[in-house]
Amino acid sequence: MSTAASVAGRRRAGLAAPAILCIAFFMGGPMCIMVFVSLVERAPDGGVIWGNFTTDAYKQFLFEENLLGETTLNADYLRIYLRSALLAGFTVLATLIVGFPTAMYIAMQHPRRRALLIFFLSLPFWVNLLVRNYAWLLLLRANGLLDQAAMALRLTSEPLNILYSNTAIAIGLTYSFLPLMVLPIYAAMEKFDFSLVEAAFDLGASRWQALMHVIVPGVKGGIVAGCLLVFIPGLGSYVTPVLLGGSKSLMIGNLIETQFAAARNWPFGAALAFVLLMMVMAAALLRAALLRKSRRAKSSNP
């Protein structure tokens, strides 16, 4: 019995080995290189000096030398990271508020209609992100379509000046990432047994109570997955802040790009990318912790 099990286990491991090796090589490899580059000395003209190890890149993240040659705290990069995180967090919130009802609406349609709606929802994904952002640029810019519509409806007499602001970034990111929120929630909703909602109504739950006590816990996996799927690319968002935000404030993505471009400081760029990776990992760990907590809550005394 035990030997049979171990044979099966070994066979499984053997069959999975190529896939695992591929993942280790093509995902782990570049990541190791990134960490390595962040830990060596930069070459004067870009590139790095392999073998000269230093943690300068990480020091640069937090400290700078002032005019007198003293090392002082430099919060510029932290601020940029914080801004990116806030923006990503806001995007998660906005896509959740818009995406949850959307997913629920779709899940409650007739199956044939559902497929059609999902198709429409994912249509924008067929268009390049850059092009989609340009579309918003045309919509939002001064005297653009939105302004014209608002003025035609006599809602305003002046241009709204939405473009090149945080509002424009928020609109662009919410729009871009909405499908990433809707699809996992929809997938969870589709599996969700809506007769449970009737059971909740039967037991005296109002619509709101049924939503909060039955539907939300029932599709929690989808919600968490959606939040993560939006948060991670939101953190690294690059095109939207540049095009719709007028590039007045750097995001992590832009900052990293300048290190490999104009500044030609590869180790610092790699270090910045590594810090970003750590933030993403933290988000993933938080998710795991949340799931674990809810499982514990399930199996413990209420």
Partner: protein
Amino acid sequence: MKLRTIASAALAALLGAGAALAEEEKQVNLFFWPSYIPDELLERFTKETGIAITMDIYDTNEALLAKLQAGAAGYDVVIPSGYIVPTMIQAGLLQKFDAPSLPNGGNIAPGFADPEFDPGRQYTAPYMWGTTGLVYDSAGTDVELPESWSVFFEPGPLSGKVAALDDEVEVFNAAAYYLGIDKCTEDPREGQQILDLLSAQKPHLLLYGSSGTIDRVLAGEVTMHHIWNGAAHRVRKARDTARYIYPKEGITQWADNLAIPTGAEHPENAKIFIDFLMKPENVAEITNFTGYMNAISGSEPYLTPEIAADPAVNMPAEYADRLRPGRECSPAARDLRNRIWTRLKK
């Protein structure tokens, strides 16, 4: 090596443009900026020489440098800007081919035959060149503006109707010219002055943006745009009230160059291609397409009248002393610049 180069160049010349060396397949791989050469010209090259062309696209010199440093092989012709050429030569990324020795090598215009970044044109041949100045729509200002960066950094009534390029180097350089500071300064105090100027300017800018510049001016989103002169030319084509400024404090001149990477698989074909692009009628076609000036003598007769007549492209001679060639700064200067840029946008 040198012998072989000369021999093969001679052979290529002998057999006419159509024949490359027998051992080289009839293929040349370009690594180019986007929309920087007309397709018709490429087709004509293939028709005339029988050499097929493939093209990959990059969008910054740094991306090119990084790619070659990382060992990307297979590209035969690349197109680095002047300022980055010394770095690439030093890093051994380019091979010598002695541009003046090619059949059309004698056409290189005098001002471009012996640049600081590649004395004697051993590693590069000139391609397009241009300037980074300002364009404004005089219909939106009522008056002609002075030829100075002051209108950009202290826009007064144009506040909120001005856009800067989203380009660390260009923005920093413009500020340095205006303040009379060396653009490769390593002095933090000077850096602070530049930061102060840029920070004071920022609230008056509608945005920093490098793409869609032409459209932005034409749509009336901004009245003044920090701009590359080829784009300015297109603005002027669509709007005859548009004016291009060569500021008296100095204006960056950039010059792109054709070069052959060390790892090129078809260096002979690359030379045939580069030579093709030094023929006046061919390069004029590129100027007509891109709106950027070339550096080949004898191309003027082939230029369209609107290009020949546009001072934004065909610079009047009196501005020649305002040109400041792009330069590669030291790592310390680059760090300072990047810190200022980051702080400006923190």
